[in-house]
Symmetry: C2
Subunit: 220 residues, 2 copies
């Protein structure tokens, strides 16, 4: 069992756009579209998230997309990624992903607000809403994953919390060769975090660099 | 003729350590040592800069090191890289590189201080000290390079000046997988600079990603 995170970041380290940069047609804004464009272009994203079959790229970027959707048994995500507070704390909000979200596993949504009941979706996704420190939520996710890996899903603020707490074993970054200069920077307050990890690089398409940090002395 | 720059940067964008972080034994400090370690390890750096023959790595990182030392006919560098003001403006200072520096071509050192005479070194390096806007210094270097490429050599502050002025055709970055969190960030005030360029990535050893930006619509 490994705890892993997978993020798209810009070459200057931004993993999420500034708040309120989107439009109704493009809720996360143009920066986000550019950041994730190589990932969205993959055959796996097209099929698994958008339901577009038999289209998309099939190279290195797609291989990482396939790995993303395989092998984890539970995910932890921040309230922002779920959209919990986007619509006036609407108690009927069920996430961005429709009735059959692409997770197909238990998802623990971090929240400091009032507890709400879990939501069971189609296809195996169950959203649980939890308010607890990183290590405690991780323990819940590890138990739910039943031996499979656990994903720390983002956004970057909660990924940084987990990194600072020393709780992440594998960090896969798809570095898109764009300079955003604004937004939420993954690396804030993480000086020398790399010392705990061994790093490897693999070139993807469209100038993307896939950088994987694996915690040193990690048991197989 | 192309204008190119080659820099080692950290994964969070730092291309130089903060001022005054060094020690007498290690003038640029531990951050700099970690940043350039994969480059210093190459056979080409060992031979061309340190005079250590028949030692060093011979993979992708070394191929970029070989390219670094070939094909330019002149370099422009900032006063800081030359060390112009490091020692009380010592008029006898001749740079860090001994009597036979690894440039073997004219080098234009930017300075706002009093003009000083050019210094002719062994092996073809001549240091010229110039005070002029980026485009004017570039014109001098282009003429001196006589059809060969021109290197914008750094530090990052002057590279950013040249990037903002739209004067650089090819940007090669060796991205070392370390998080420094301090120093001089290459990307400050360069949001969307990538839109002018096509990007390609190639994986090196030790987790290094070589990212090359080539200006769009550049004539061959």
């Amino acid at each position: 069992m490994r705890v892993r995170t997978d993020l798209n970041i810009s070459l200057d380290g931004y993993a999420a756009p500034p708040p309120d940069t989107g439009t109704p047609d493009n809720p996360l804004g143009e920066d986000w579209s550019r950041l994730v464009a190589p990932y969205v272009a993959t055959r796996t994203f097209q099929a698994n998230v958008l339901g577009n079959l038999d289209t998309g790229t099939t190279g290195v970027n797609d291989r990482y997309a396939i790995e993303y959707f395989e092998g984890t048994g539970a995910e932890i995500m921040g309230a922002g990624k779920f959209g919990l507070h986007m619509f006036g704390d609407d108690p009927d909000w069920r996430g961005w992903w429709g009735e059959n979200p692409p997770f197909h596993q238990p998802v623990f949504v971090l929240t400091h607000s009032a507890p709400r009941p879990s939501i069971e979706m189609e296809g195996g996704t169950v959203f649980h809403f939890v308010s607890a420190p990183p290590a405690e939520v991780l323990a819940m996710a590890v138990e739910a994953a039943d031996g499979a890996d656990v994903r720390v899903g983002g956004g970057p603020t909660m990924v940084r919390d987990y990194l600072r707490a020393g709780l992440i074993d594998v960090i896969h970054l798809a570095v898109t060769p764009i300079i955003l200069g604004q937004g939420e920077n993954l690396w804030d307050d993480l000086r020398n975090i790399d010392l705990r990890y061994a790093a490897a690089s693999e070139a993807g398409e469209d100038g993307v660099s896939h950088i994987t940090f694996t915690r040193r002395n990690l048991p197989d």
